[in-house]
């Protein structure tokens, strides 16, 4: 266009000069403003962590709202309008799904399914109780002429109470994760927040429909109940359907690894949108989709895709959440409010009272059915943790304008949200510590615990079979069988059933391997080398030099602009280790750094040879000896281990340093006690076996030596696992890494 312009001017009288510098703001206005807002909110987040103490006592949501308030005040004073981007459409279609997807994806499945009855009980019955209770009491208040709100009828009150009884996952999680309450409490509150959406949606729709009707008939109530079931179960059905389709799709994506994460997002979003299309509970759809999908997808996709998926979900959810709270603050200042002291104060009071009552009554009813009943402190935590947040906010804005007192409702909603988030959010942490609610014990990720938990489950299932009882273990057993026999064959590309014990074991072994590579202690190498004859040493060096070349070569074999390099996680580990070693040894000479490199590779490979040597002594007929001839070959052609959490965080940590590795890895820099191969007499053969087993992961071989030598190798472990646990545990228990 500019070119034409120029030509024209040349053709004409050249009255206008060629503009050297032009600005075209309207063209980019919308994306530009969105980006600026997101950046601003993110800067706020960075700012909070500058002063460490703040985030301990004040949850992030509060801080964000305050910043929003400040910005809103600034905008108001210059008479600017807040960007029109925050319509409820934007909220429900773009922001909420991200947050809910994150909650669903990182939900701890085992505790969730153990408590599923309680969760649904609180979500459904609790929300109903709250809405109806608050609605009716507010209606009673409205009758008092002194408050001047007599024009609000019962339906409108019920509608309003449906809005504010929705406990909000965002606000609650923000607070609860930092406090680390016991698992039961956490999962019940969490689950309740997520699943009460079904009830809220139904109630909201029902009451808003009803609010416009002059007369309510009993048949409408029945319809409402039927609608609830359709909404809830329909949401779940859609979610499961899309989850399975997603899992099935990822079975075939081995050649297109780069777009694997996309499938996860697209299918979840589709589930959400389709549910919105039919006006059924989209939140339940997306949560069930994430739950179903996660288990199968994580086995199908590559390690990197898995990390990417998790990382991106967290990032998007974080942005969403930040923006929501931020805008909550801004909009608070800039909307027109209608304040009514009586109504609003009573709303606050009733919200609080009815929640407390509800929890009390419901817990009494459901405690006999629970194996770990809730004590009074837990109940207090449950009741006090009922924070309202963004969902109520958005729902308030979507109130139809036919309601006369819409502004009052909006104001009241904002007041409730601000009150609960600020007051309850800030005070919940000291209160919980004060009354000493049961905390979680995070040090449970040892192999023994896992083995014994499984043992107990099987024992319980067995005993129950003996008695002819059908209970939770029975159903879990049945489901696992169905899963292994049918579902996994269809949905997973390489369907070898892997026990959780084995997965945990692999994870811990990898952890140990990393540990060894991390410590730059010369002793180990010396001790190990001592056991070898000179000839063997020469062999080692030969093969070492050959293979070092191979390793490097493979990293540069890119296949094209859009292809990622070949995935091999141990090689990744090795390369990164080399990088860190190189970095740490930079001041020294090149020669010494190379020798250190060689030394470390030595350590890994020596295990092969050590076992090889012993294997030859015992039983040459074993397949182990043939494998010993090409131990290093294995180093290059590794298959991918089914995803383990540690690997996600390891590879991401060593690469980007995003997660909190630095602390844990620097902690673990203890010189490793010597690992002599000592006298587990009947265990020498095990060393061979161990090598055979881990054909897949070369780096793991280092870890294999430990079972042979009883104590010192693992002596450091308990301390380190505690230091490392926050890193290695499945992400749900981590305070949100933002």
């Amino acid at each position: 266009m500019n070119l034409v312009f120029i030509r024209q001017t040349y053709a004409e009288d050249q009255k206008n000069n060629l503009p050297v510098f032009t600005m075209n703001y309207p063209r980019i206005q919308i994306p530009f403003e969105i980006t600026l807002w997101v950046l601003l909110a993110s800067f706020a987040k960075i700012g909070f962590h500058v002063y460490h103490k703040i985030t301990i006592w004040v949850p992030e949501s509060c801080l964000l709202i305050s910043i929003g308030l400040i910005v809103g005040a600034i905008m108001h004073s210059v008479h600017e309008e807040p960007p029109a981007v925050l319509t409820s459409n934007v909220f429900f279609l773009y922001m909420l799904p991200l947050i809910v997807l994150e909650s669903g994806y990182f939900m701890p499945t085992r505790p969730f399914f153990e408590n599923i009855g309680t969760v649904f009980w609180f979500a459904v019955v609790g929300t109903l109780w709250n809405s109806i209770g608050i609605g009716i009491s507010l209606f009673a208040i409205c009758q008092i002429p002194a408050f001047g709100v007599q024009d609000i009828n019962l339906q409108e009150n019920l509608l309003f109470s449906a809005i504010i009884s929705a406990v909000d996952p965002v606000a609650v999680l923000n607070v609860f994760e930092d406090v680390s309450v016991n698992e039961q409490l956490y999962i019940v509150v969490f689950g309740e927040c997520l699943f009460n959406d079904a009830v809220t949606v139904v109630l909201y729709n029902m009451f808003s429909f009803v609010a416009e009707m002059p007369v309510v008939e009993p048949v409408d109530v029945f319809i409402g109940v039927a609608r609830f079931f359709i909404v809830g179960l329909g949401g779940m059905a859609f979610g499961i359907l899309f989850g399975f389709v997603a899992a099935f799709t990822t079975r075939f994506t081995s050649k297109v690894r780069e777009i694997e994460p996309l499938f996860v997002f697209m299918y979840s979003y589709l589930a959400y949108l389709v549910a919105e299309l039919f006006a059924i509970s989209s939140i339940m759809a997306i949560i069930t989709c994430a739950l179903t999908m996660k288990y199968y997808v994580e086995e199908n996709v590559s390690q990197r895709s898995c990390t990417t998926i998790r990382h991106v979900i967290k990032m998007l959810a974080s942005i969403s959440e930040t923006l929501i709270f931020f805008f909550l603050g801004v909009v608070t200042i800039t909307t027109d409010h209608e304040w009514n002291w009586g109504y609003i104060l009573f709303t606050l009071l009733f919200a609080f009272v009815w929640r407390g009552l509800g929890i009390l009554v419901l817990t009494q009813i459901i405690n006999p059915f629970r194996t770990i009943p809730f004590n009074m402190k837990d109940q207090f935590g449950l009741a006090y943790g009922g924070l309202r947040g963004a969902v109520s906010f958005a729902l308030a804005f979507t109130l139809p304008d036919t309601i006369g007192r819409k502004q009052l409702f909006v104001t009241a909603t904002i007041a409730v949200i601000l009150f609960t988030v600020f007051l309850q959010g800030i005070s919940i942490r000291p209160l919980i510590e004060f009354i000493n609610v049961r905390r979680t014990n995070r040090n449970l990720e040892t192999i023994n615990v896992e083995i014994h938990c499984r043992l107990m489950e099987h024992t319980m299932a067995g005993i129950e079979d003996l008695c002819g009882q059908w209970s939770r273990f029975y159903w879990k057993d049945k489901f696992m069988k169905f899963n292994n026999r049918i579902l996994r064959k269809i949905l997973i590309r390489d369907s070898r059933a892997e026990s959780s014990i084995v997965a945990l074991y692999k994870k811990l072994e990898l952890q140990n391997a990393m540990e060894i590579l991390d410590t730059a202690s010369g002793d180990i190498k010396l001790l190990m080398i001592k056991k070898f004859l000179a000839a063997d040493l020469r062999n080692i060096h030969d093969i070492l030099s050959k293979n070092m070349y191979k390793i490097r070569e493979r990293t540069v074999a890119y296949r094209g602009k859009h292809a990622l390099p070949n995935d091999s996680q141990t090689r990744e580990i090795l390369i990164r280790r080399h990088a860190t070693i190189r970095r740490s040894l930079r001041p020294r000479s090149f020669q010494s750094s190379v020798s250190y490199l060689a030394q470390f590779i030595c350590i890994i490979l020596i295990n092969y040879f050590f076992c090889w040597e012993r294997g030859l002594g015992f039983s040459p007929a074993r397949s182990s000896s043939s494998k010993a001839m090409i131990p290093l070959h294995r180093l290059g052609t590794l298959e991918e281990v089914p995803s383990t959490d540690v690997l996600n965080e390891e590879s991401s940590s060593t690469g980007e340093g995003v997660f909190r590795t630095n602390s844990s890895y620097s902690d673990s820099r203890v010189p490793h006690p010597r690992r002599l191969n000592s006298s587990f007499d009947d265990n020498n053969s095990s060393v061979d076996d161990l090598r055979n087993v881990h054909e897949e992961d070369g780096a793991e071989q280092v870890g294999q030596r430990q079972p042979a030598s009883p104590a010192p190798g693992w002596a450091a472990e308990p301390r380190e696992t505690t230091a490392r646990n926050p890193l290695l545990r499945r992400p749900q228990w981590n305070p949100k890494k933002k």
Binding site: I451, L455, G462, D465, L690, G713, A715, P718
Partner: protein, 198 residues
């Protein structure tokens, strides 16, 4: 549900008609087929150590009383129990698990015994080689050793897991809630038919 309700009947009838029931009877229960550790569970019923007396060895047949004694290990803990009682109950349950491992009655779980258990546990999850199971058992053993005897010299030999060590490694788990069955829907009508001895 009919099948499950006749099963306890069948069991108790067996116990009442004959003088007791033996391993084959328990073996015949079809639902246990899918349980990887069924052998251990069945053996546990016949283990004298689970009878709250100080005997060792195993019985060939058990009567209803002995059946109940074993089942009593799975009693849920009363919420009104004192701390002492809770500790005792917990010890009992842990003892039951310990006896399941310790097949030769010497009070220690050796590496072999542990390996057997792990192998059985993992036997159902598809193609797990025995080497994997072995190495897992080894690693687990090492964990126990390191948590309980942290300063072993490199040449020491770790004998096996004693009961104290066993308790130590399972310190964090809430045993009371996991190892308890609530007989909520036991149909007492079915229980009363047939002659219950003693």
């Amino acid at each position: 549900m009919g099948a499950s309700q006749t099963r306890p009947e069948h069991n108790y009838d067996d116990l009442t008609d004959k003088s007791g029931c033996n391993r084959d009877d328990l073996d015949r229960i079809p639902a246990l087929n899918n349980n990887p550790i069924r052998k251990q569970i069945i053996t546990a019923f016949f283990d004298k150590r689970n009878q709250h007396q100080n005997d060792v060895g195993s019985l060939d047949e058990i009567g209803f009383e002995q059946f109940l004694m074993v089942m009593s290990h799975f009693r849920p803990v009363n919420s009104t129990a004192t701390e002492e009682e809770k500790v005792t109950v917990r010890k009992q349950k842990l003892r039951f698990l310990f006896n399941m491992h310790d097949t030769d009655n010497d009070g220690i779980i050796t590496l072999d015994e542990y390996r057997t258990v792990v192998e059985e546990l993992l036997s159902q999850s598809g193609a797990i080689e025995t080497e994997v199971a072995r190495s897992i058992a080894d690693a687990a053993m090492l964990e126990v050793a390191s948590t309980n005897v942290p300063h072993m010299a490199p040449d020491d030999f770790y004998e096996g897991i004693t009961f104290e060590h066993f308790e130590q490694i399972l310190k964090g788990i809430e045993m009371e809630s996991r190892m308890s069955i609530r007989f909520l829907d036991m149909n007492t009508a079915t229980m009363r038919c047939g002659k219950l001895s003693s």
